[in-house]
């Protein structure tokens, strides 16, 4: 098998520092947003006692789910022994760590008492899915960190497969945990199903790969390195399978609910009467997130790199829409305490809850995205994560 040369990006050009500075600016905005929320309380957000998890959770859960998915490329290389993916693995690992960091920061900085993070680290209730997630996230950093080390340090290279396998299993459990944050809730009609765990796993595959592809293409294009079509087409094919699987899970989830009369109300809300949520579901989640990317990738357009990038962007946008519908849509629909009766109260019982995200929420979420990209940008400058070339000849040699 031919060997691949990994090389740091030089990172001294004006373009690099502009990118670095731009991302840094968004990190700064995120920090200011957190400071505002922390100082004044959640009163400055669009969240209230009806919509208790808002836009920051949409960003945070999306990033965490995408993080575990971004690791997939590395897993395919080491767990499933596909040599073509080996040179792609280090970026996959660092990107997953960076996305996880961004997601977790948004999650913990949105706490009502973010200053009490130490309490969450020292007081545990093992019946809580949140507690399990604390361990799953920490373990993820540890395992993926070790995995990355085995990829970068020749002296421990022989442990790479073992570390990769452990990280792969861990990430499956982790996304199960993320899905179960919602799956283990009995109060809301849209949750409370084991479907959410596998659905979140397959969504992570799609979102993570879409982000990975965009970062990979950008890194190669902006550094003038060669990225051959072989790699792009292979990953594109994989993205098609993942996006189709996401669509399948969404259809099965809603069809199952439609069969149960008790879910008719909430399903009608999401699918037909929910205003912004219905629009986000059909236009965002289904058309932009699934159908359009599939059409692009499966048609002649999918042979052009620009269109593959468009498809990836659409998958990411659709993923954000999906998180918005899943997290906020489910809360917007009123709790049905007295089935069949009309409920009215000063606490907004029986009415659909409105939600308008505020600027601090938006910038806190964007800050998480910026941190993830900033870490990745910095990591490829200081570590040998990217192959010097991924042209078709080099890649072809790997497989023979």
């Amino acid at each position: 098998m031919a060997s691949i040369t990994f090389r740091e990006v030089e990172g001294s050009s004006m373009k690099y520092w502009l990118l670095f500075g731009g991302l840094g600016l968004f990190v700064l905005f995120g920090a200011l947003a957190w400071n505002t929320m922390h100082h004044y309380g959640h009163v400055v957000t669009g969240m209230d006692n009806q919509i208790v998890w808002g836009l920051p959770h949409v960003f945070a859960v999306f990033l965490i789910v995408a993080a575990s998915g971004a690791l997939n490329v590395a897993s395919i290389a080491s767990v499933f022994n596909k040599p073509m993916y080996k040179p792609l693995a280090p970026l996959s690992a660092i990107l997953s760590l960076a996305l996880m960091l961004g997601g977790l920061l948004v999650l913990v900085l949105d706490l009502g008492r973010s200053d009490r993070l130490i309490v969450a680290m020292t007081h545990f209730n093992f019946k809580s899915m949140f507690t399990w997630n604390v361990f799953l996230y920490s373990g993820f950093f540890g395992l993926v960190g070790i995995y990355l080390w085995t990829m970068l340090d020749r002296s421990v290279k022989s442990y790479s497969k073992a570390a990769g396998t452990a990280a792969f299993i861990w990430r499956l459990v982790l996304t199960t945990g993320t899905g179960s944050l919602f799956g283990f809730l009995i109060a809301r009609e849209l949750y409370g199903t084991a479907m959410l765990a596998p659905m979140f796993i397959i969504m992570s595959f799609a979102y993570g790969l879409a982000i990975y592809l965009m970062v990979l293409a950008a890194a190669y294009a902006w550094t003038g390195r060669t990225l051959g079509d072989a790699v792009m087409m292979r990953l594109k094919g994989l993205l098609v399978v993942f996006v189709a699987a996401v669509l399948y899970f969404i259809v099965v989830h809603h069809l199952t609910n439609l069969y149960f009369a008790k879910f008719h109300g909430v399903e009608a809300f999401i699918l037909r009467d929910g205003g912004i949520f219905t629009t986000l579901f059909w236009v965002g989640q289904i058309v932009i997130g699934c159908v359009a990317p599939l059409v692009i990738l499966l048609s002649g357009l999918g042979k052009q790199r620009t269109w593959i990038m468009v498809a990836c962007g659409l998958v990411i946008a659709g993923g954000m829409a999906q998180m918005y519908v899943t997290i906020i849509g489910a809360q917007a629909y009123p709790l049905d305490m007295f089935p069949g009766l009309i409920e009215k109260s000063s606490f907004y019982d029986g009415v659909v809850h409105g939600y308008t995200p505020s600027l601090p929420e938006l910038f806190l979420g964007l800050g998480g995205v910026a941190i993830a990209l900033l870490v990745t940008t910095f990591a490829i400058k200081v570590l040998r994560l990217l192959p010097a070339s991924l042209d078709d000849t080099t890649v072809a040699k790997l497989e023979h």
Partner: protein, 259 residues
């Protein structure tokens, strides 16, 4: 009762014995104990160092047939007792905490209207306690579900989990209406405590139930559901009652008649 903590060994297991101990303590303290009601109440107050006992299960009976339309005396009393700003006076009504609220129900077919107060149902199997990552959400031995203000991190997972929308997050700094025995704070989640400060003082009743009785409606009855001789137990034996979302099988401390 084999599950009781060692502390409970010192707690009288039977109501009769409890009354006796309560009476003896009170007498020793030099209090004059005349009416039986007083005896009952003192017996239920407990010293600070003594843990709550699972021999007691505090609960409430809501008689929706007696709950008056337009009356919100229970809500006002709760707000006064516990120091939370009434929603009408709040600058941010959607974000204002509401420990208890009046719910108006109507059957769209028959037009039948029902009024009732809705608050924390003090489940025996509380979903909020299950999901709380730090254990800040907890159930006391005597069935009262509370939030530990020192370990609540404001994650709002309990609010996502509660089927009764009973919990509120404190969204902004609190003004000076706070009560010394009802700790509250920005960024933490809170809900009905069954007036735990009054129960532990030995008042034997909650502010909402007192207000309802004072208004002459008698729609709220508070008491020990484990004591077969308590007023609430007697009434629960006679009246057909329901638990809200009984399908969830959470074994609620608040029972409703007339829904």
């Amino acid at each position: 009762m084999s599950k009781l903590k060692p502390m409970s060994d010192q707690v009288p297991a039977s109501p009769e014995r409890r009354r006796f101990v309560g009476a003896a303590t009170a007498t020793a303290a030099g209090l004059t104990i005349a009416p039986g009601v007083m005896l009952y109440q003192v017996a239920h107050g407990r010293p600070e160092e003594q843990a709550a006992s699972s021999a007691v299960r505090w609960g409430m009976l809501v008689d929706a047939t007696k709950c008056a339309t337009g009356c919100d005396d229970c809500v006002t009393a709760c707000s006064t007792e516990n120091g939370w700003t009434p929603v009408a006076e709040s600058k941010h009504p959607k974000q204002a905490p509401q420990w208890i609220r009046k719910l108006e129900l109507q059957d769209p077919l028959t037009q039948m209207e029902t009024n009732l107060p809705m608050m924390c149902q003090h489940c025996a199997e509380p979903p909020c306690v299950d999901v709380c990552p730090t254990g800040a959400s907890f159930k006391r031995a005597d069935g009262i579900v509370l939030v530990n203000r020192h370990t609540c991190i404001g994650c709002r997972y309990c609010m996502m989990a509660c089927p009764y929308k009973a919990r509120s997050l404190v969204h902004e700094d609190l003004d000076d209406t706070q009560k010394p025995d009802v700790p509250r704070g920005i960024g933490c989640v809170e809900s009905c405590t069954l007036c735990v400060q009054k129960i532990d003082r030995g008042d034997g009743n909650t502010a909402c139930a007192e207000a309802c009785t004072a208004a002459g409606h008698n729609a709220l009855l508070f008491g020990d559901m484990n004591d077969p001789e308590s007023e609430i137990s007697k009434r629960l034996r006679e009246l057909p009652t329901k638990q809200v979302r009984a399908d969830l099988n959470l074994n609620l401390g608040v029972r409703y008649h007339g829904i």
